[in-house]
């Protein structure tokens, strides 16, 4: 383990903004992609149901 305590870990040697923004942005966009796909799937299924019933 490289870090001695949590404070140092979050501080990232002074580069907290850049490092955490990079990792955070990546995590957020990947989550967004999955959520958007879930919604797309739900929409497609709903439309297929309407078509199957109608």
């Amino acid at each position: 383990m490289h870090w001695l305590n949590w404070a140092d870990f979050f501080n990232m040697g002074g580069y907290a903004f850049y490092v955490w923004l990079s990792f955070g942005m990546s995590a957020l966009s990947l989550s967004y992609e999955v959520i958007a796909l879930r919604n797309r799937r739900r929409r497609a299924l709903r439309l297929s149901r309407l078509l199957a019933q109608g």
Partner: protein, 258 residues
């Protein structure tokens, strides 16, 4: 032993297979991701020159590698669809494109966030970042072309041709950008500034790349299932799907039949 290679080559047969594979690839992505994050954020030592900011490479480089890999794989699927005149490979190419574009954008943004503390500028025109930018243009062109053509089969084929032309051009573009970059060596900024990397750092990058790779496959499978549901909506095999027939929680319209 007789292997039927084409058993899963139609949307109808691939759809359930993709559904079964999905959770495994998401699981692998999470596994590699957690391991990679641990190595890159907690285990890897500090870089002598760049301090802690260098840790951005653990997202920047995997994203960049994947963006290039996805383009090649996308073009391969598209070419297969063109050669076999089949829908499923074309749908796979269509499914991969947005993820590839997303990784390209991430590579550019994280590259920017790395460049600012290191070299004081939000953007540097170094050969790799510039090539990455051009790759983004190629992705956007592919997505724009496919969404602007109404007929789905024509969109498939036109996109496939564009992807193949793009893939042929990528080495030419990369070579010309490297040439351009060596000419204007005002700033000798080289973002590949990690000549001797500690083994831990390499392991971290490898794990993160694998995580993104598994994620890409999972998301592509998820997206291709959506594409199939959308494009094959009126066909019988979609209409008799369990999800379409039976799940009441999807039914949010009042008064509709269950």
């Amino acid at each position: 032993m007789h292997i039927n290679w084409f058993k899963y080559s139609t949307p109808q047969t691939f759809y359930p297979l993709a559904g079964r594979m999905l959770p495994w690839f998401f699981g692998l992505a999470v596994m590699f991701g957690l391991a990679g994050l641990y190595v890159s954020l907690a285990l890897a030592p500090t870089d002598f020159q760049q301090g802690e900011a260098y840790r951005i490479i653990f997202v920047h480089v995997p994203a960049a590698w994947m963006s290039m890999l996805i383009y090649i794989i996308m073009a391969a699927w598209a070419g297969l669809g063109l050669a076999l005149n089949a829908r499923l490979p074309a749908m796979m190419a269509q499914a991969l494109a947005p993820t590839g574009a997303l990784f390209t954008v991430l590579a550019l943004l994280t590259g920017s966030l790395w460049g600012k503390p290191m070299w004081g500028a939000w953007w540097v025109w170094d050969a790799r970042l510039t090539s990455e930018l051009i790759l983004l243009f190629l992705y956007i062109g592919f997505i724009a072309l496919q969404s602007s053509i109404a007929d789905p089969r024509r969109a498939d084929r036109a996109g496939a041709l564009l992807a193949l032309v793009g893939v042929v051009n990528v080495p030419i573009i990369y070579f010309s950008v490297k040439w351009w970059n060596t000419l204007h060596q005002g700033a000798s900024i080289n973002m590949t500034n990690a000549p001797t990397m500690a083994t831990t750092m390499l392991i971290g990058m490898l794990l993160m790349t694998l995580a993104l790779w598994m994620y890409t496959i999972a998301v592509a499978l998820l997206r291709v299932r959506c594409i199939m549901l959308e494009r094959e909506r009126s066909s019988a095999w979609v209409q008799i799907l369990y999800e379409v027939q039976a799940l009441p929680e999807l039914n949010t319209m009042p008064g509709a039949k269950t």
